[in-house]
């Protein structure tokens, strides 16, 4: 597919985090990890086993976990916290705001099971507002990698990046289409397929959906450009403007509320610098529900077909 090498194997992005964290445990003695009773779900077992004195089970007490992490960071450690995205953000927003973001602590908030693809657990756990909450905080970096390999690389990169950061990943097995070894640069958009007719800016699981959409669009005679925005903040403004200038219309795609997500970050850039026809593929001000990830992506309008339709609308508005 294009010039991407798609692995025959699928893996969950959370396992990429677990692998990256385990490697960091061996390579960086300052890295410590905390988990709020979800070690298996977050794939933190390997780190815990190899480095028990640098791993802290905090129990079901996420607010305390964020504070302990802030204290460890103050002392010069590089703490990685692990729990579901819902409990990594909404539940502990004030702790993150005061003790981590405002205090500029080098804490890496690692959040799994984000979005609708959590599936059957339903809306209590399917957070779709976390990118918005986190990107609003000054000092905070927000990263949403697209596959297993990239989640591993983003985890490794975070240890060398000073400052508070939010790393969002998910539960389902997903296609692997980025290189295992790559130069992952925080804040630098990743060109996956150059194109001339429409720019698709996607993040997280929707990057794969966008690649599939681009393939279908090609058969319809539309040459889509697909750019992976793995860093929502700081946003690669230049990459967005260069692409939008070239194609003349834009689609954003994400597993998040339209309010507060990647789409509104891109819209802000375009509105200020280069007003361009734009369509957004995102959840439209609704809570999710129980169901399989595939069913939910279809029902809530964030599937391949939605990216295709949005691209056609965008092209028609040029």
């Amino acid at each position: 597919m294009f010039d991407l090498t798609v692995s025959p194997e699928k893996k969950d992005t959370r396992s990429g985090f677990g692998q990256g964290l385990a490697e960091l445990g061996d390579s960086n003695p300052n890295v410590v990890a905390l988990c709020a009773d979800l070690i298996g779900s977050l794939k933190m077992n390997a780190f815990q086993k190899a480095h028990p004195k640098r791993f802290f089970q905090v129990g079901i007490a996420e607010a305390n976990m964020m504070g302990v992490a802030a204290g460890l960071a103050t002392a010069g450690k590089i703490p990685f916290t692990g729990t579901f995205a819902n409990f990594s953000t909404g539940r502990v927003y004030d702790q993150i705001r005061q003790s981590i973001a405002y205090s500029d602590k080098n804490v890496k908030i690692c959040a799994s099971h984000a979005g609708l693809t959590l599936g059957e657990d339903g809306a209590t756990h399917q957070i779709l507002e976390d990118i918005g909450m986190m990107k609003m905080l000054p000092n905070m970096t927000v990263i949403v990698p697209c596959d297993y390999n990239q989640t591993r690389l983003a985890t490794l990169a975070l240890a060398d990046h000073h400052g508070p950061a939010y790393l969002r990943f998910g539960r389902p097995s997903w296609a692997i289409f980025t290189p295992a070894e790559d130069n992952f640069v925080i804040g630098k958009a990743q060109m996956l397929k150059p194109g001339a007719d429409v720019s698709i800016f996607a993040t997280g699981h929707l990057v794969w959906k966008s690649i599939q959409a681009a393939q279908a669009l090609m058969e319809k005679g539309i040459d889509a450009e697909v750019i992976n925005i793995h860093t929502i903040k700081p946003l690669d403004v230049k990459a967005i403007l260069d692409s939008a200038r070239k194609t003349g219309c834009v689609v954003t795609a994400e597993e998040h509320q339209r309010n507060g997500g990647l789409g509104d970050s891109v819209a802000q850039v375009l509105a200020m610098h280069l007003p361009t026809p734009m369509e957004m593929v995102a959840v439209d001000d609704q809570f999710g529900e129980s169901g399989t990830p595939a069913q939910l992506m279809t029902k809530y309008g964030i599937d391949t077909e939605d990216v295709i339709a949005a691209s056609e609308r965008a092209v028609a508005r040029k």
Binding site: V32, K53, R54, F56, V58, G59, A61, A63, N64, M65, M66, G67, V68, A69, A70, G71, L72, A73, T74, A75, G76, K77, P79, D94, Q95, R97, Q98, S99, Y102, S103, D104, K105
Partner: protein
Amino acid sequence: MEATEISPTMSHVSDVNELKRIASQVRRDILRMVHAVNSGHPGGSLGCTDFFVSMYFNIMKHDPKAFNMTAKGEDAFFLSNGHISPVWYSTLAHSGYFPVTELNTFRKLNSRLQGHPATEEGLPGIRIASGSLGQGLSVACGMAQAKIIDKDENTVYTLHGDGELQEGQIWEAAMYAAHYKLDNLIATVDCNGRQIDGDLEDVMSLGDLGAKWKAFGWTVLEMNGHDYDQILSTMAKAKSLRGQGKPIVILMTTEMGEGVDFMVGSHKWHGVAPNDEQLASALSQIKETLGDYPA
């Protein structure tokens, strides 16, 4: 009298009368700081003055001239009830962290002395923002945990308001500290029995506080926060309990507004500044010992 810089040799003061002299100046500073901007929290600040002066001039191992964010090789102090920032700022300034003259920037635009303590402006002595209550004990647990990893024998201290203990996060952290046997952690609770809306017993009773901490696995000590002999001996005792595998909490009885007759013992001065007349009356009761900072 001109404001004077404190020489580094004053960083450790063993004479109780000298500690009281410093405390007298800190109380004047608190009143003048909150009066100057007609805002801030004098009540709890005055109540904790004797504790702060004891900590920074006698108990803690610290180096005001070379502030070290990581606190490696020294004791660390976290103020969890950040609204009593005036007493902390004055104590930090007099112990040499920054010029005493800077106290006149408190709560003003472009100041390092924010209404509630913050690290954003780089004020030496502050390691984390506080103000939204209940977060400091968790942060202190993290620092205490790091000291264990690093085999650093120094102590982590915190101060909390008693009203602050109504926050659930405090008890999450209390569980954590006991579970991880953080006996290098000494928390002090300012038990003045008051909070913004009134007496603590009326707003939200804490019940038997000592029993609560004991049940959470902590060693509990008590002291009178205005009796220097008790403060010094209790803090020394708390430190001697290292090695028993239990975090230590000190329930410190104080009077909100201590030192000013019309403020003492009332919640009404929690977050209200004195007017000109009240300031004059308050200052007439507290001796200028080290020199008032220039307004």
